[in-house]
């Protein structure tokens, strides 16, 4: 019984530890996703707003509708759903332990019950036909070899037998029943341990998916930073030209520089609309399906 209990306890503890680690990883990736969303917001509020102001400054000479570029730029802060709490069913094992404890009592009763059925009281009456104190006395006397009057050891010897030679086998039989239930409990514990191990393996797979999400966030952040840097460098140069009234809408090189900036801005907008995970902005549901399939 102890072995079964220990097995379940250890499996439960390992599961809880792994679950805690996965939850903290989910929190970490969610934080990173929020930071990515804030980065997008920052680009929209700084770079895009500055480009809009620049176009306003250039005015009609630019002939470019920057709002068309800005239109439809959404800011998404995706969240990875909390992982489901899996339950390791330990109840069945504890039920098994209770059954085994009951079996121990039953085994003891069965042994003495056997004696009751076989033995006959010194009065000649079958012990099973007696009741109460009379039955107990006759039973003990039977275990002691019959009543003193009948030449047996009587109740005293019966008590000694119960307390010695006979008592040990009663315990042994009870112990066997407990051991048999213990074997069954150990099997149940093995199944629980196996289920827990599968849940842990599933959580490890989930963590790999989360690592993939983290890598994807890093990738998109890197692209946004690169484009933002290019946009800011181009923007600063054009802002300087416009502020010094040196920008000429008819100058091919000036217009090419503006178009370069707008190409960068357009790419920034498209990257910001790119889903981090699946098309619907959540973890590709197929990944979840696969995780469930392999865990069955």
């Amino acid at each position: 019984m102890g072995e079964a209990q220990d097995k379940v306890k250890r499996a439960q503890e390992r599961y809880e530890r792994r679950k805690k680690r996965l939850d903290s990883r989910v929190d970490f990736v969610n934080t990173e996703a929020k930071l990515y969303g804030m980065r997008q917001k920052d680009i929209k509020e700084t770079v895009f707003v500055r480009v809009a102001r620049l176009i306003e400054e250039i005015g009609k000479r630019a002939k470019v509708d920057v709002y068309e570029v800005l239109d439809g730029v959404d800011i998404n802060i995706p969240t990875v759903g909390p992982c489901e709490k899996h339950k390791v069913e330990a109840v069945s094992v504890f039920n098994g332990l209770l059954v085994a404890a009951g079996a121990s009592v039953l085994a003891s009763t069965a042994t003495t019950g056997g004696v009751t059925m076989l033995a006959t009281a010194s009065t000649g009456a079958a012990i099973s036909g007696l009741s109460g104190a009379a039955a107990n006395s006759a039973l003990l006397a039977a275990l002691g070899g019959g009543s003193l009057a009948a030449g047996g050891g009587g109740m005293a010897l019966g008590s000694l037998v119960l307390g010695g030679v006979t008592f040990a086998p009663i315990l042994a039989v009870g112990g066997l029943a407990v051991a048999a239930e213990g074997e069954k409990a150990l099997t149940k514990a093995t199944k629980i341990e196996c289920d827990a191990n599968k849940l842990i393996a599933e959580m490890e797979l989930r963590e790999s998916v989360l690592d993939g999400v983290f890598q994807r966030l890093n990738e998109l952040s890197g692209i946004l930073n690169e484009l933002k840097d290019r946009a800011l460098a181009s923007l600063s140069s054009l802002e300087k030209m416009v502020s010094m009234d040196r920008f000429d809408g008819k100058n091919v090189e000036h217009m090419e520089r503006l178009r370069c900036l707008l190409l960068i801005i357009s790419s920034l907008a498209q990257i910001m609309k790119t889903p981090i995970l699946g098309e619907d902005g959540a973890i590709n549901p197929k990944i979840d399906v696969v995780i469930k399939q392999v865990a069955v």
């Binding site: 275990l143 047996g152 039989v173 990738e219 990944i287």
Partner: protein, 133 residues
């Protein structure tokens, strides 16, 4: 038969019944123990197979992501190098092409590509399947 002899006989009969009962219970226990051991071995074996399958899917998935992200990182590096050069030269055509390629590449998420995991699991059951990472 004397009373004492009868008592001894009764005691012997009781002890024999008890011994028989114990013997029976021991046999029963041994049968249960063997049955349960067989069940545990079957559970352990099935579990090990399932765990190995999940582990194989996980390690293949990780290898796929690592390789995919590393390859993409190199591609992005080259594309942004082209973007920088094109901007320095005001080369609109190269800039447009390199930015367009970068945006297209970014749009394809390796995680969305991971739908191939479905076929991966099937492949795991195919002993003749060769994995190329």
């Amino acid at each position: 038969m004397k009373a004492a002899d009868m008592a001894k006989f009764a005691q012997a009969a009781d002890m024999a019944a008890l011994a028989q009962k114990i013997s029976h219970d021991v046999k029963e226990y041994l049968v249960v123990a063997e049955q349960e051991q067989t069940k545990r071995s079957a559970i352990d074996a099935a579990c090990a197979t399932e765990l190995a399958k999940i582990d194989a899917v996980r390690s293949t998935f990780e290898a796929f992501l690592d390789r995919s992200f590393e390859e993409r990182r190199r591609n992005f590096e080259e594309l942004f190098s082209l973007v920088r050069q094109a901007m320095d030269r005001n080369d609109l055509k190269t800039l447009e092409l390199s930015l367009s390629a970068a945006v297209e590449l970014a749009r394809i998420s390796p995680l969305a590509e991971a739908k191939s995991l479905e076929s991966l699991r099937t492949a795991m059951d195919d002993p003749d399947h060769e994995f190329v990472i």
